[in-house]
């Protein structure tokens, strides 16, 4: 029998998860939310501190003199520029320059890197490591991970860690200790807020959870599920594999694949690095010729939305969570794209969406129309193309 796995925090999260709305994430069970409504969890991310179990992330340790050669070959960014203690966000592509997956890559020491991914990647890494002197170890099970997000997150960590975390710059990491437990803390996250990810040996998972909850008490810490995180990440303009793009490994047809340029990751494609890397020829061509699709933000215009609902005698009805569904986007009567995730943004008080738009409709300021369902009828609400992210607090990178 196939059984979904428990994360190293399950003993705690199981008791805390009131609605029992477990979600599947890479073969693990994780809490959708801990409370019946998402409100408090969402606001914990934006106002205080949210503790999120992100252990199901696939994690790989790549170590050896040729580790950088492998990573430079696999990912699109220039690994020679990644310093010890630095973290890169990066995607990686197949030979046609289409996205396979994305994740963070941390340089732990001169020859050791940690890569996270959403999908199993051991085979791909191994296939690319022919003739190289290195070792690839999957540490998904043996390493627990917590994401502590929100403006108070640094205060929580400063209270319980041996060394203050204030010195960690955005996308850097540090080794630290908490009640004698060695941990590694990176200033990364999936909410677009101030936040950290904490990497822990699985056996130390529970004491670290307890210490953070205790230290966070005075800062309004709250265990937060992935549904509230889903709302925050849309505000932050961050896409999610299998919701917002299909891994080229899983695509049935070419139209389902996306290039990094199409997803707004052009900045991670370092065509100026030397030598071959997977997808390079196709990516160079796309950069030269331009992309036909682009991932942009879409803001629904409230007045237009209100008018559609008014016609049937209702105030606007919007789910107070992220909707991972494909919604057509039109210009006039013609479909020119689709929304892959939409959400109500409690902070911005706007109905926002991540939209894949065809050239030339992806220019910011373009007026389009997005499908909404009004009393069981499909209608189109006016919406405007905006650049991502929708929300970026000044303390995110400070």
């Amino acid at each position: 029998m196939i059984q979904l796995l428990h994360t190293p925090f399950h003993e705690r999260t199981e008791l805390l998860c009131q609605p029992k709305n477990w979600r599947r994430w890479a073969g693990y069970l994780v809490a959708g939310s801990y409370e019946m409504s998402l409100d408090r969890e969402y606001w914990a991310i934006r106002n205080t501190a949210a503790l999120i179990d992100v252990s199901p992330l696939m994690k790989y340790l790549i170590t050896g003199v040729d580790a950088a050669l492998l990573l430079n070959r696999v990912v699109t960014r220039d690994i020679d520029k990644l310093q010890v203690g630095q973290v890169y966000y990066t995607g990686w592509c197949d030979e046609d320059g289409k996205m396979i997956d994305d994740g963070t890559l941390s340089r732990l020491d001169e020859t050791t890197y940690r890569l996270t991914s959403a999908e199993p990647s051991l085979r791909w890494l191994t296939m690319n490591a022919v003739g190289l002197e290195l070792e690839i170890t999957e540490i998904t099970d043996s390493m627990a991970a917590l994401s502590l997000q929100g403006p108070n997150s640094s205060s929580v960590l400063n209270r319980c860690c041996d060394n203050p975390v204030d010195e960690i710059k955005y996308f850097r990491l540090m080794h630290n200790e908490l009640d004698g437990i060695p941990i590694s803390i990176s200033r990364t996250g999936y909410t677009g807020d101030l936040g950290y990810e904490i990497w822990i040996d699985a056996k130390d998972a529970l004491p670290v959870w307890d210490a953070l909850i205790a230290a966070g008490h005075d800062f309004g810490i709250l265990p937060v599920g992935i549904l509230a995180m889903d709302m925050a990440r849309v505000e932050a303009g961050l896409f999610m594999i299998e919701s917002d793009y299909t891994s080229s490994d899983h695509a049935w047809i070419k139209a389902q694949q996306s290039s990094p340029f199409e997803l707004g990751l052009g900045w991670t494609v370092n065509l100026d690095k030397p030598g071959y890397f997977v997808g390079r020829p196709a990516l160079a061509r796309e950069q030269r010729e331009g992309s036909t699709w682009k991932l942009m933000g879409l803001e629904v215009e409230w007045d237009g939305l209100e008018a559609l609902f008014k016609d049937v005698g209702l105030p606007p009805q919007i789910l107070s969570m992220a909707i991972r569904a494909s919604l057509p986007v039109r210009s006039g009567k013609k479909q020119i794209g689709y929304v892959s995730t939409a959400t109500w943004s409690p902070l911005l008080k706007k109905y926002i969406a991540l939209a894949h738009l065809q050239k030339p409709y992806f220019e910011p300021g373009t007026n389009l129309r997005m499908e909404v369902t009004v009393q069981h009828h499909r209608q189109y609400a006016p919406a405007r193309v905006v650049t991502l992210p929708f929300y970026e607090p000044e303390w995110k990178k400070r």
Binding site: R73, E95, W124, M127, V130, G275, Y276, V278, P281
Partner: protein, 502 residues
């Protein structure tokens, strides 16, 4: 520094054929050979005072001999009447003598089966049609399926026409038999075990397959084409063929450097830029032809970091799996009853051959091996199957005596005086073939001749047209379509492709 239009890696017969064709077309060509003598596996070398065709002996395609005017350089095919017999050594001092003259062969067959003797001429006719078809296929560039370009489509249509011209019935028959086992194929023709086994042995020659493996009929046709029949039909000693090729290539203006081992191919922006030699010397050229096997070419000389992961994976998956050892015996004189310049096979029964192969499946040396023996005045060269490159137990260097004894004992059953006339011997294990002759896993064919590694799938699907993912780098060796064994066809085809592009 002198610049070259093309550098050719390896002075084996295919490298030399490519070089001669390109030089003849007016290109500045440099051939680099790692060993101190040219020829690759087509070499006559000395051991302790004896001369032997060390690895393979062979024939070149008639059109190559013609086009390169090799007769001028000392190569003269023997008249049909002088083609030696193919002799199967049987238990109890019996022999089956398959002369190239069908009437004489039928006489020998008659002793085993009058019915088979009657069918022999028809069989030869069928084999001639089948080899004609294969010859056309080996003269046709295979398309990069599933996309077929107009010119590829045209030559494929020509190939289909050739097949059609063989007659409707023959056409179907040729296609039908290609995937068959040698046993199934020969059982449709003959009843005599001795005849079936003798012919079937040519179907497993050089491959790690048994007579009951699918596609050994194809290998039979392939070997029949390369040899020009059952027996090795000598153009001369291996070294003489090579000498003629070297003389021709040089006369057309190609340069050759011996003891010049290429350790890597230089690549700049996915374009071949030249080669690096073992001593560090770099030689530039925008076009490089490699006659090294595809695994060695891509995984060692180019290096996996320059190639896409799928391509690397496909290259790694090429089946080499050599299981041939060569033993040369230097003799006082040939034992009684043995003739010079003759091909003998020890393949007494189909089951005998299949059992010999069974050992290879399990990483063992055949206790009762299939041997093919070629002779000169005072040297016997034994092709020993099966001696798998990857032994289940032990290392090849510890098995030398075992193998040598097995080979000699097996042959001595038929020539009792053999043992006492041996003066010196020279054994090449699959490991030796790899180190000395750069044959990955000791595979004589640079990739097994198997149905999933033939035609448009040789060396790997999509790359049978001599081109590679690296611009300006071409394959011209045995590992690509038309190759395997000695014929020069892949070297000739590569030169044709390259001369169109440079």
């Amino acid at each position: 520094m002198k610049t070259y239009d093309a550098i050719i890696i390896g002075a084996g017969h295919n490298g030399l054929v490519s070089a001669a064709y390109l030089a003849k077309a007016g290109k500045q060509v440099l051939v680099l050979e790692s060993r101190a003598i040219p020829g690759g596996t087509l070499v006559t070398e000395e051991f302790d005072g004896f001369m032997a065709d060390m690895v393979q002996s062979g024939n070149l395609c008639p059109d190559i001999i013609r086009n390169l005017k090799l007769a001028r350089f000392g190569l003269k095919p023997k008249p049909v009447s002088e083609i030696p017999a193919f002799i199967s050594l049987l238990p109890d001092s019996d022999i089956l003598v398959l002369e190239s003259d069908p009437v004489k062969a039928a006489e020998s067959i008659k002793r085993f089966s009058p019915k088979d003797a009657a069918r022999w001429p028809d069989f030869l006719t069928f084999m001639e049609k089948a080899t004609k078809f294969l010859e056309s296929a080996y003269d046709t560039l295979m398309p990069r399926l599933p996309k077929v370009s107009l010119s590829e489509g045209y030559s494929l249509a020509e190939l289909a026409l050739d097949l059609r011209l063989a007659g409707r019935k023959n056409m179907l028959n040729i296609i039908r038999v290609i995937p068959m086992t040698a046993v199934e194929f020969l059982e449709e023709w003959f009843e005599s075990e001795q005849l079936k086994a003798a012919v079937a042995s040519v179907g497993i020659h050089g491959v790690t397959l048994g007579v009951m493996s699918a596609g050994t009929t194809f290998n039979l046709i392939h070997n029949w084409l390369n040899r020009g029949g059952l027996a090795h039909q000598y153009l001369g000693r291996a070294g003489q063929v090579t000498d003629a090729l070297v003389a021709a290539a040089e006369a057309y203006g190609a340069e050759m450097r011996l003891s010049a081992e290429v350790t890597s191919i230089k690549i700049e922006d996915n374009q071949a830029a030249g080669v690096v030699l073992k001593d560090g010397e770099e030689i530039s050229a925008q076009t490089v032809l490699s006659s090294a096997d595809p695994k060695r070419t891509f995984l060692t000389l180019v290096g996996p970091m320059e190639l896409s992961p799928t391509f690397v994976w496909h290259t790694q998956s090429i089946k080499m799996r050599g299981s041939v050892a060569k033993l040369h015996l230097g003799l006082k004189s040939l034992p009684d009853g043995m003739a010079a310049d003759t091909t003998y096979t020890i393949a007494p029964a189909l089951n005998y051959l299949e059992r010999a192969y069974d050992a290879a499946k399990y990483g063992q040396i055949s206790e009762k091996p299939y041997l093919e023996v070629t002779t000169s005045e005072n040297v016997i060269s034994i092709h020993f199957q099966y001696a798998p490159y990857k032994l289940k137990q032990g290392a090849w260097n510890d098995k030398r005596d075992t193998l040598e004894k097995l080979a000699v004992d097996t042959l001595a059953v038929h020539f009792p005086e053999l043992q006492s006339s041996i003066v010196k011997s020279k054994l090449l294990t699959p490991a030796d073939l790899e180190t000395t002759y750069s044959l990955t896993e000791g595979d004589l064919n640079h990739g097994q001749i198997m149905l999933d590694q033939f035609m448009f799938m040789r060396p790997i699907p999509g790359w049978s047209n001599h081109k590679t993912p690296i611009d300006g780098l071409y394959l011209c060796g045995s590992g690509v379509h038309a190759g395997g064994g000695i014929s020069g066809a892949s070297g000739r085809n590569a030169a044709k492709v390259v001369s169109k592009e440079i």
